[in-house]
Symmetry: C2
Subunit: 580 residues, 2 copies
């Protein structure tokens, strides 16, 4: 029971001390979330209240079903961008259909996450490689920042790719609003300054570190308050500065997502991508924070928690949500101990939704855009390109294509290409495996590559260590290689396949081995195996392969050497032996 | 130059003896191909002459560019079925658009094969596992046989899946033509008898084996001649027996494939599938036959040869072609020595196209259907199901889904699903790799699984052998496993990762190893590596990982044991140690 309802575990021994810490964290997170929620709703193309609603019911549901103690669930930048890209294809921004599509997207995503959790498919998140995720997040950050420039300039410019955005911005650049631009530039500059310098400045002024931290985190609120006051005082909205305008004073409404078959069909793939990206982002944050306090995260239960949160969003006027990095870190740093902190945050936001929404009437969109730009540029870290370039061309290719395709063709194509590229590159690599001819390291029973180490060999005995599982992708490779090797060295009498790196032999490879055995038998050459792993041997025993094998299976390569080496040659020096 | 034009190699020393053997083979193959070409055209939904045309120019081009000495290129059963499935979606059978679409399909397929050959992508054929191919060919055989029943019954029944075909056959069963049925059943029975019993009978009658073989292979010609004569003599075409009818007496015409963007877009994916399946079928036949004569096949040049053949088919009134199994074996058995045999066959067919086509006017479709049924049922071998079931559930799942989906949804979905299934199943397998804890085999320097062998261990030293490359799909797996292992056994002071089966460490896995190292360092536990392969070590050396590693890297596991084992325990018996 506690497996599916983690709340029963932490709720049982909830202490007064934990309560006070959770309350403090909730206050700080609530203050931070008000402008952030409005901003992300703007990014998703939805009315501002959708961002607040998406932060209330989902947090409560996650608190019941989630396994992380500190994860803060709600709208996040990348998922908001993906939402805009997905719904933009099926409805016009600003229409009722657009908001309904957002609910449907959240509902579908929630149902998928829930199903994956119940089927225990949490490990599927591993199909996204770390560099691909890093590249995707960075590219999304750039796209998001670019999409906000129109608010800073006070012009219209729609687009889901960098090229579309640049074109639209250039086309309408002439119509920029000078006052909007002034507010946008000031707010952006202020927020960058807050991010980089406010905390050290406060510390130098003698404030305790915790307080300095809290004040620095509240920087966006100051920008919001100052720019709102300026618009109100000078009536700047009459001079073309776009403002948030009326926001209904209400608790999250009960809403019904649309499930028209055509709509569902069009949103299925985007919902799947949003679910996967949201889950990967959320679980990374949750695991990072849990590790710091030696807590554990259950990926399958996390899927259930996020699924419940998204279904909640679908029925309470929200849009797709996930565990956010920034808000979770703030929650953690502010001392949150249990998911109750999240529940209190939800309460705080509910109060704000009812009481404080009139205050944001004069809030300029440019300020919200500034908060988004400053937040997402913190996500952009292109060093992954140079890191992977140095380490592995395959990883680099996957990252580079993810980044390039995300920027050029949008988030959906970008992330799909990244996943595909990393899988295909891996398969390509295993299709031409590294094969080492090995010899005995003198004075040991250990065998290593004759081209890298000084080892003993025997001209009539060749031992090949295939550094890859044998399966359909490379089944024919070994056959070709052995045929060539034996043809080039007529002195070979015995071939040993050292199987220490062969983790699997599938049916295609089994057929290849049978063909190799038949061919070597014809030529009077023995085929032997050594160091076959238990699971692989179990399989082979179930076939006739071992009966037909013309040679033997040795427990260790040294046993094979002891039995088969007839005229051990002089020690060979790897450096001298050269390539091959 | 000879690399791209193999004809320059064998053409240079072409002997008189080779000429006479090639001529004999060509005569036999020509006789066999006449009814077969008509039949496969019928299967593809094209006029009968298309089958003959598709056997002339393509053979000539393959003779110039191909590397197999004996491969016979032309229409084959599976590709004919795939052609019907592909063009059936874009045009109505019997219309001019249908024939043009067939040309376009051949042109696209030829261009793809040529491009793949020039880019040296021949190895991509390996992405189809052997069992998936076997399953697909068997399922296609069943589909093809089912699609021919309408001709045996003399009714109309269209469909691309077993369900559609069964439904259509049942719906129109009442309109069957008794005379057609009689011809069809007799022809099918006769051909099955010829296949199984004619050769032994002739041998018993004292004929030399070669001649017996040739006569047995000519069986279909006898069926064709007898049924044609019967229709002509008794005027059966007036009684509802459908016949081939007028076939133009002409050399292959010069034709232009259509390249309307919409048509090309619709045929792109089918052309790709046909190219891959055709190439895989062709290369398997070519390699099998080449191996018997110790010749070599160059897969990349084969792509070029098949590409040229298909482009030839597109411009000479044909449809997609590939190297056929039956015709190539006949060519081989008949003693063909060089591709010149193919050229002579093309000549023979050209003569037939001009002179003999009036003779097939009264040939009943039922006889052609019978030759197809007998030929394709020879391809059906469902034993691959039981073989893979015994060997590996993953292979079985891939085969079973290929067969089931091919029968239920047609060839295109079937083969795509087979490829996808085998890749995904492989990735899933590597996502949860086998990890063995190993100990020292007494009296040796060899380390094996503590649960399978009687080995020595040390409670403070745990050595894990991960039986899989570390890459993004399983990067997190090892982290979780080690955290659990160390938490459960507080006596552990040192962890050794024995890397003999780790063939690759990608960037995601590198990050995981860094995280593992950081965590173990915090807990005061040493992390060591042993038996790291050369290529993996080269990579690691390029990073800061080895600087940060809190332990050492040992050349062999025995070195690690010698350095780290402090209190070797008693020998542990695998059977007694139990699971874990």
């Amino acid at each position: 029971m506690t497996r599916y309802l983690p709340i029963l575990e932490w709720g049982r021994d909830y202490t007064r001390a934990a309560l006070s810490r959770d309350l403090l964290a909730a206050v700080i997170v609530t203050i931070m979330l008000i402008p952030q929620s409005l901003a992300y709703a703007l990014l998703a193309g939805l009315p501002p209240e959708a961002g607040i609603y998406a932060s209330i019911v989902p947090i409560l549901l996650y608190a019941v079903f989630g396994t992380s103690r500190v994860l803060a669930v709600g709208p996040v930048a990348v998922v908001s961008l993906m939402t805009a890209a997905a719904i933009g294809q099926v409805a016009q921004q600003g229409t009722a259909g657009y908001a309904v599509a957002a609910l449907t997207l959240a509902g579908l995503s929630g149902a998928m996450l829930l199903a994956m959790g119940l089927l225990r498919l949490g490990f599927l998140a591993n199909f996204l490689s770390h560099p691909v995720i890093a590249g995707f997040i960075s590219a999304s950050g750039i796209l998001i920042a670019a999409s906000q420039l129109k608010h800073i300039l006070g012009i219209s410019a729609e687009g889901h790719t960098l090229i579309e955005l640049a074109g639209a911005l250039l086309a309408n650049l002439g119509q920029f609003n000078p006052i909007t631009l002034a507010i946008g530039v000031l707010a952006t500059g202020f927020l960058f300054w807050v991010r980089a310098h406010l905390k050290p400045t406060l510390r130098r002024a003698g404030l305790p570190p915790r307080l300095a931290d809290v004040i620095a985190k509240a920087g966006p609120v100051a920008a919001v308050a100052a720019s709102t006051a300026a618009v109100w005082a000078f009536g700047l909205d009459g001079q073309g500065v776009r403002i948030v305008g009326p926001v209904p004073q209400s608790l999250p409404p009960f809403t019904l997502p649309g499930f028209a078959p055509e709509l569902v069909r069009q949103l299925l793939l985007p919902a799947l991508l949003i679910s996967i990206i949201g889950f990967v982002e959320s679980i990374s944050v949750a695991q990072t924070l849990a590790a710091r306090r030696r807590q554990r995260i259950d990926p399958d239960q996390e899927l259930i928690g996020l699924g419940a949160a998204n279904i909640g969003a679908a029925f309470s006027g929200g849009y797709p949500v996930t565990g956010g990095f920034a808000r979770s870190v703030v929650n953690f740093d502010a001392g949150a101990e249990t998911p109750a902190a999240g529940a209190f945050t939800a309460l705080g936001l509910a109060v704000a939704a009812v009481a404080l929404t009139p205050l944001v009437y004069y809030l300029p969109n440019a300020t919200l855009a500034a908060t988004i730009i400053v937040a997402v540029l913190g996500l952009v870290d292109l060093s992954i390109l140079s890191k992977t370039w140095r380490y592995s061309r395959a990883d680099f290719t996957a990252v580079a294509s993810t980044i390039a395709l995300t920027l050029a063709f949008g988030v959906e194509i970008g992330v799909s290409a990244g996943v595909l590229a990393s899988i295909v590159l891996h398969l390509l690599k295993t299709s031409k495996p590294h094969v080492a001819e090995v010899g005995l390291v003198p004075g040991s029973q250990h065998f290593r590559n004759i081209n890298r180490h000084k080892v003993e060999t025997d001209p009539a005995l060749v031992t090949l260590r295939v550094d890859e599982s044998l399966y359909f992708v490379n089944a024919r490779f070994l056959e070709d290689l052995l045929v060539r090797r034996v043809a080039d060295h007529p002195e070979i009498r015995n071939v040993v396949l050292m199987c220490s790196a062969i983790n699997e032999i599938d049916y295609s490879a089994l057929e290849s081995l049978e063909a190799i055995n038949a061919r070597l038998t014809e030529q009077g050459i023995g085929l032997h195996l050594s160091e076959v792993k238990g699971p692989v041997m179990d399989r082979l025993r179930a076939t006739h392969f071992l009966d037909g094998l013309n040679g033997r299976v040795f427990l260790s390569q040294y046993d094979a050497w002891a039995a088969l080496a007839t005229a051990p040659g002089a020690a060979r020096d790897g450096a001298a032996a050269g390539g091959g």
